[in-house]
């Protein structure tokens, strides 16, 4: 049973970190390496807020909003002006941005490992068996709600529809009276805020280090590729496949090989399905 709980928790955090990344891949068409640093930003902002006395829940929300604003600023200052220069230039601009954010946070917060100062809690009981702690349960619920919310937002609201329209065909969307610029700002806000929230959760579950953003971006890339680049539902499925795959795989290999295990899963899936899991339900015709 423990495996299922652990799998569920890691899948939730992975889901929350990766959907934002996938959203940006879908709309902007490049791999935003700085997304890992959005997690770092969220985690450290949340830490700073709780340290000055804000309770955890509002601190998490506020950290997400601040990270979302940073994402918007990054888009406006860095990525929008170079959009015409192609995916490689954007990819490495995001690497540069990741270094800047990482460096500035490191200079302010220091390189030491830090953690949220939370009262210790015991796991709750479910049918007399130990289940999850309060925090873990909250993380799972928030992550699942965010995924559901994102789905409803993308399929049901006007803004969501315009995001999808811009992602599919920007010229056509513009001809239909959608302003791609405000759509993009919205995407960057939502994506970065979700990343920031994931960062707070990572901090709550474990500790915060400066390397966190780099470690997480590797897992995020793995999840996104597994799901199929740019496919939101693919990524949602992939975070569960990957998290449970890792937890079950750890029965057979030593824990030190955790991310190696994740990559082996991806390599195997891509050998069979070069377009990722999304190709299970999307025909191969759509390429970019």
């Amino acid at each position: 049973m423990d495996i299922i709980y652990f799998g569920l928790i890691s899948a939730s955090v992975l889901l929350l970190s990766s959907v934002g990344f996938a959203l940006i891949v879908q709309v902007e068409g490049f791999l935003n390496i700085a997304h890992g640093q959005m997690l770092l930003m969220g985690g450290y902002t949340g830490l700073w807020l709780t340290n000055i006395g804000v309770p955890l829940a509002p601190a998490a929300v506020l950290a997400a909003v601040i990270t979302g604003l940073l994402g918007m600023a990054m888009y406006g200052l860095l990525f929008r002006p170079i959009k015409a220069k192609g995916a490689l230039v954007m990819l490495f601009t995001s690497v540069g941005a990741a270094y800047v954010i990482n460096g500035v946070i490191g200079a302010i917060a220091g390189a030491r490992m830090q953690g949220y100062d939370l009262p210790p809690v015991r796991a709750m009981l479910l049918f007399g068996e130990p289940f999850m702690t309060r925090y873990e349960l909250a993380i799972v619920i928030v992550a699942l709600l965010s995924a559901l919310g994102l789905h409803l937002f993308m399929s049901g609201t006007r803004s969501g529809k315009s995001i999808r329209a811009v992602a599919d065909n920007e010229a056509l969307a513009r001809a239909r009276g959608i302003d791609p610029r405000s759509t993009s700002y919205l995407v960057w806000f939502v994506a970065s805020a979700l990343g920031g929230l994931a960062g707070v959760f990572l901090g709550v579950m474990g500790s915060l280090t400066l390397a966190m953003g780099w470690q997480q971006i590797i897992l995020i890339l793995a999840t996104t590729v597994l799901g199929g680049l740019g496919s939101l539902y693919g990524v949602m499925l992939a975070s569960f496949v990957l998290a449970f795959g890792i937890e079950f795989g750890l029965l057979a290999v030593q824990p030190a090989y955790r991310s190696a295990l994740a990559f082996s899963i991806i390599i195997i899936v891509l050998l069979i399905r070069p377009q990722g899991l999304q190709s299970l339900w999307v025909r191969a015709a759509r390429t970019h």
Binding site: V95, G103, A107, A222, T287
Partner: protein, 316 residues
């Protein structure tokens, strides 16, 4: 003053090593079509192969396999061969993937390889690494002069890499990989086999990178898994982009500019607390330069120049 000279020597040595890897990456990703985000994988394999072949047998507090104590030239061949072999193995499943997928899967392989060194203690002594490794020609020179000797060796390696990659990119092979980069469909109709050509390219670049790994071992006199994380890959890419991707001179200049940016601040002596902040700011500085170059000179300091076959044939 002496300290400054030694520091500069050390920086030039490191930049020469970075330059070798930059040129290998340039061959792959600048001249050729392969966006490889796992270059550190072959670099590490080369380094470890060299160490395992040439180091003395393990002492009883260490555990690593082999330690044959073989001569260095055997180690050099071994480093390039092992890295080429690793590249060949990686190329088997990855070359059929599209650009971004290839990027990420090569990154994944490099990470798996790093975890392998860190965990397989019987082979590599794990995270503790292997220390006190020999440097070439160490006995023949006074210890005070040795840094210059090492610098000369690395510069010689750099020159050899320059000549080799330049020759390769001008050869028919170089023209075929350039064709694959520009327009794969057209290259296929011209009779270029994309997978076989890309595989040859990937293995060649891997072998050169592994060879550079040997110089990195000489420079550090130790080997630990932490040296080979993906930071290195991103640093090499950053250097190449700063210099100008697709151009030999760009790869060379990029490596030196990058080391100047990234490591010159190391010379500043500050207190412990400040040093931590300074390390972080160093990273931020590299990022800022990368952003600015991409914004204002997206083709780098020395952009790729169009080929001229012979005089007068340009409009033919």
């Amino acid at each position: 003053m002496d300290g400054l000279l030694i520091f500069a020597t050390s920086m030039v040595t490191l930049a020469a090593i970075y330059g070798m890897v930059c040129m290998a990456l340039n061959l792959e990703a600048g001249v050729g079509p392969l966006w490889d985000l796992g270059i550190v994988g072959c670099f590490g394999v080369g380094g470890y192969a060299y160490v395992l072949l040439t180091a003395d047998p393990a002492a009883d507090y260490q555990s690593y396999l082999f330690g044959f104590g073989l001569p260095m030239w055997v180690g050099a061949i071994g480093a390039a061969t092992a890295a080429g072999l690793a590249a060949w193995l990686i190329s088997l499943p990855t070359l059929r993937l599209r650009k971004e997928y290839f990027l990420i899967v090569t990154l994944a392989f490099a990470e798996v390889i790093r975890q392998f060194y860190a965990n397989e203690e019987w082979l590599t002594n794990g995270v503790a690494g292997i220390y006190g490794l020999d440097q070439p020609l160490k006995q023949q020179f006074a210890p005070g002069d040795y840094p210059y000797v090492l610098m000369a060796l690395c510069l010689a390696g750099l020159a050899a890499t320059w000549a080799l990659t330049r020759q390769l990119s001008k050869s028919p092979f170089g023209r075929s990989i350039k064709a694959l980069r520009e327009n794969e469909a057209l290259a296929i109709t011209a009779g270029i086999e994309p997978t076989a050509t890309s595989r040859r390219l990937y293995v060649t670049a891997g072998a050169i990178t592994g060879f550079a790994g040997m110089f990195f071992v000489w420079y550090n006199t130790l080997i630990v898994p932490g040296q080979f994380d993906s930071d290195f890959t991103f640093f090499i890419w950053a250097a190449l982009i700063i210099g100008g991707i697709g151009s030999q001179r760009g790869a060379l200049v990029g490596a030196f500019v990058f080391i100047l940016l990234h490591d010159s601040l190391r010379f500043v002596q500050v207190s412990g607390e400040m040093a931590v902040a300074l390390t972080s700011l160093r990273t931020a500085l590299v990022g800022l330069v990368l952003i600015l170059i991409l914004r204002f000179r997206p083709d780098g300091l020395f952009p790729e120049r169009p080929d001229r076959m012979t005089k007068g044939s340009r409009h033919a």
